[in-house]
Amino acid sequence: MSTHAHLDSAVATVMVLDDNDTKRYIVGSWLRRAGHTVVEAADGAEGLALLAGASDADLPELAVVDVRLPDMSGFEVCEQIKADPRTASLPVIHVSASAVEVSDRAQGLHRGADAYLTEPIAPDELLATVTAALRYARARRRAERLARRVAALNSSTLAVYGARDGEAFTAAAAAGAAALMASPAVAISLSPDNRTLLLAAAAAAPPGLSGPTEPLVVPEQPAASVRQADLRVLDLLCETALGDGIGTDMVLLSGEQWKSLVPGDPSGGADVFPGRVGLVLARTKQGRPPVALAVDATTLAGVDDGELLSQLAQACALALEALRSQSEEHALVLTLQRTFLPDRLPQVPGVDMAVRYEPAADHAEIGGDFYEAIQTPDGLLLAIGDVAGHSLQAAMVMGEVRHALRAYAIEGHDPRTLLDRLDALLVRLRPSITVTVCLVLVETGGRRIHVANAGHIPPLLRRTDGSTRYLTEHGPLLGLQLPHPPATPHDVAEGSTILLLTDGLIEVPGEDLDDSMDALSDTLRGAPQELGELCDVLLDTFGKGKTDDIALLAARLL
């Protein structure tokens, strides 16, 4: 704090506003002797014009204003100074002749002045009052600036936590650092899947935060461009600071050091700093890769600067951990799903089969779609199903239902009994879960099928003449223990194709499912005979942009 006290008491540019030439000269000379720079004005209009026309560098920091001026009162001048956002915090010290009432002094202070001195004024008293006023005004401006920067820190932190993937995160981190420090900034981090090193560079935010009197408005984040970089860059940076430790660490690098550690690419990349570079590294967990933020070293001169940037780096590291956890959970659920589902379809003479399974891309949307093809004493049992719900629980229930189906199926139960058994199991073990299942038993010989459908999208049959038909007989979904009707038999000719699917393939929110089913049926009519190609055509036509799991099982009777 002694640094601040020292800076706050430093000399300043002071405006002396008085129509009396002699008084102006005397006050001016006292101030000059004390080291201040003095600019003079002889009346209200001139004084206000002087302030309005001054550049940021030359703007006076304080005004000594005589109360009695020819064109307006000193009080009015003070009010106008305080009303202009640019000079709102500029201290005004009134001076006046001794023959004034206390009420006048009070009025001056009420109307915005910071001090009021009456003649005769001792030079020491004036200088001390000037210094005190400057100290207060500077401390206040510093506090306001810090408040703005903390608001910027909050806004940058939110942006970083709101990033949905590695690229967006790195861009938000660079943009946040650039806005916070009013400097070009570079952010470097490992993607959530740990496979790519991402580097983002952002240009300095326009001077909003650094202006002396800008209102408390947080500027919009500057745009940042992201590219991939060499995986070793982060390791090399860690050697300069932080090492293997956790927490944050800061180091200053020369321009050459920075350029050697973080090579640029043809588009410029990380070479955005005019001189020395301030680098902050933050790591929240032992063994995890850190996040690096780099800014122009000159912006780290103040006491608060390093602290603010370190806090941002810490927030970035935490946000990245959250992203990484999500990514890891997503990968885990995907692995579970794949474990639960058969990776190979049984080879069955007389039946050709193909399957497509696309889990939802978005972590939150992974569901409980499943399929099965299993030989039973009565023939080949095809199954497709959908557990209501998403994420880990749905995937777990899916595994349980599928295993139970296999267990009951190899015991030789007919399709309707299988549904009854699954229903009872579900109600007992998973009381508030519903599952739709469609079973198609293909009798050995491949000329007769039995369909038992519990609330699922009906199977689609394509006959040898190319016509298509949904086999719509069905019962209620599982989970309610309602009675299921017996399976419906259908005679099928050689060359027929049966399609089992989940609603993830065709459902469009807002669109009637019936319409989507009609569209599918139309497309199947003209689709290839070969099952692999057929599945691909259906996925290309309907599967793009869908957010839910998609499962598709096709069988052709040879």
Partner: protein, 122 residues
């Protein structure tokens, strides 16, 4: 209202039935909100719980499950759930999944915001 939200308003019709109006989306994201609202409704025997679905734009399988759970709760209280204002899309979903065998849909005592209506907006 963001397009993936659900708003549930409760009215008490003069006939004694409780009418819950659903507006928005009933899916895995809003299911918990719907369930909480239903759990707060005191159910009286013989006095049906009417669910006005006319302003519901989308319902998924989790939403269906919630409707079924509401039905189960009503049954325990010796009453039932009646769906009114069922859209064509929702009707197809109910038929496809066989839920139409459990939940009755039709014209019912859709009470307007008359005397004693108490919006239970969440």
């Amino acid at each position: 209202m963001p397009d993936r939200a659900l708003v549930v308003t409760a009215d008490h019709s003069p006939s004694g039935a409780v009418v819950l109006r659903l507006e928005g989306v009933l899916d895995h994201l809003t299911a918990a909100r719907f369930r909480r609202t239903v759990e707060e409704i005191p159910l009286r025997a013989e006095s049906p719980l009417v669910l006005d679905m006319s302003r519901l734009s989308f319902c998924d399988s989790v939403g269906l499950t919630e409707l079924l759970l509401a039905h189960r709760r009503a049954r325990t209280a010796s009453t039932s759930v009646l769906l009114v204002g069922v859209s064509r899309e929702l009707g197809h979903l109910l038929e496809l999944t066989g839920v139409d065998r459990v939940l009755t849909a039709g014209e019912g005592p859709v009470g307007g915001p008359g005397d004693g209506s108490r919006p239970a907006r969440e």
